[in-house]
Symmetry: C2
Subunit: 261 residues, 2 copies
């Protein structure tokens, strides 16, 4: 297949996959390790690394190992300019931590995945660890149901297809999303990860009925008893309403978080 027949999508996807191999625990790789991890031919890896290195997105050290490049700093600045959550909204998240003693995350939907854009950590040792910028699945978890409110059927189908249950999951997903829309919150137990539970509520923009984000508390299922969940639901819904009033309209008609401030 020529790279052109798909508009070069495959090459771009491969480049992003390669950058995604790097994280705080894996700061550098040898070429050989990159070949192993990507499953690509060595010549392809070398060409991709060369291209990304020319743009400063990767960096080859004197020992030949390849690391994240300084060019990512520019995108870091950009990401923070667009996605910085206003301090007032952060304060509400911290209050929610104080209320629930669980970790609080704010997620947005990016096509068929969700991304954590802000986190306030809970006080307990056993807690739900997600890092800012982490991509997570949309087929499971309370926040996913909330983020899919208003999504079209094609999106729901793609999300279901990416789930371990396959495309048939779409009916269950549609019902769960409908439920979240009606009640104004969603609860999940062990859907994405065994033993992990969450409660989420939608954050709305200044316009529209489609959520711009989901505010969620997450933690071990053992602490998410029915009684606890009732309290969490109340707290999360209240906090989400307050954040909606503060405004959090990423890249919408209204200013994005962090813009014009």
């Amino acid at each position: 297949m020529s790279g052109d027949s798909d508009g070069g999508v495959r090459s771009v996807t491969r480049a992003i996959d390669m950058l995604d191999l790097f994280d705080e625990r894996n700061l550098r790789y040898t070429t050989r390790e990159l070949v192993e991890r990507t499953g690509l031919a060595k010549t392809t890896v070398l060409r991709l690394v060369g291209t990304l290195e020319q743009r400063g997105l990767l960096w080859t050290g004197p020992d030949g190992r390849i690391a994240a490049g300084p060019g990512l700093l520019r995108w870091a600045r950009l990401a923070h300019a667009v996605w910085q959550v206003p301090e007032a909204a952060r304060a509400v998240m911290r209050e929610l931590v104080a209320d629930t003693a669980e970790t609080v995350n704010l997620y947005v939907r990016a096509d068929a995945v969700r991304v954590c854009v802000a986190q306030e950590e809970g006080p307990q040792r056993l807690r739900h660890v997600v890092n800012t910028g982490d991509e997570m699945v949309l087929w499971g978890g309370a926040a996913s149901k909330v983020l899919l409110i208003g999504a079209d059927d094609a999106t729901l189908l793609r999300v279901a297809a990416a789930s371990p249950y396959g495309p048939a999951h779409v009916d269950r997903l549609r019902a769960q999303v409908g439920d979240a829309a009606e009640r104004g919150y969603a609860v999940s137990h062990g859907e994405r990860e065994h033993g992990a539970s969450g409660v989420a509520a939608p954050v709305f923009g200044r316009t529209g009925r489609t959520p711009v984000a989901a505010l969620a508390v997450g933690g071990p299922t053992a602490r998410f008893t029915d009684a606890a969940v009732r309290g969490f639901t109340e707290s999360v819904m209240g906090a989400a309403r307050r954040i909606s009033e503060i405004g959090l309209d990423p890249a919408g008609g209204a200013p994005a978080p962090g813009e014009d401030r």
Copy 2:
């Protein structure tokens, strides 16, 4: 030409070029604006945006405008983990600002460009504005001469070819770089930008004679008189030596800045 014949380099380059259109002053574009700015066919733009959006690197708002996506937050975290300059080195940079009353930048070389990885702003109104993560040319400026110490001839040729003087510039560049290597510093006046001057010195890693970074003071030429430059040179060389001792070995054999701390 098939996208495969160049290993998909062209598509990856286009995707990076598109992301590079976004900055703090240009947070969002319409599809039409992206077509105009990139000079690509609309179908190509739509495919690239679709691919980048699926990975959270771009984001389409409810008004249809396209912005930097939340997925960049992950790379932001990564870039900071690798490229965070140690506080002790930052302190030296601030002392250098106090000494010279000019803005101090720390640059690293990424193939044939340089990238600003840290900045301490000078106190005066008229100052040299560079942002962390900004890519800058290597064919001009004092920091470039320093960063090219030890570079092979192929690199010098590519840098010269990218200059307004064309490949013939390589002889002058080689002489300037040799000069910087011998003296341990470089001075430039209006090379890259009319009216802008700089003094730079190399920061070395724990091993090797190739600089890992260039420490530079930059400001208006009017303030970079011969007498001032003598003082700046002394200060910059001293500060660069101290930062070399502190250690700043991006992606080298030694820990990178920010790692293992």
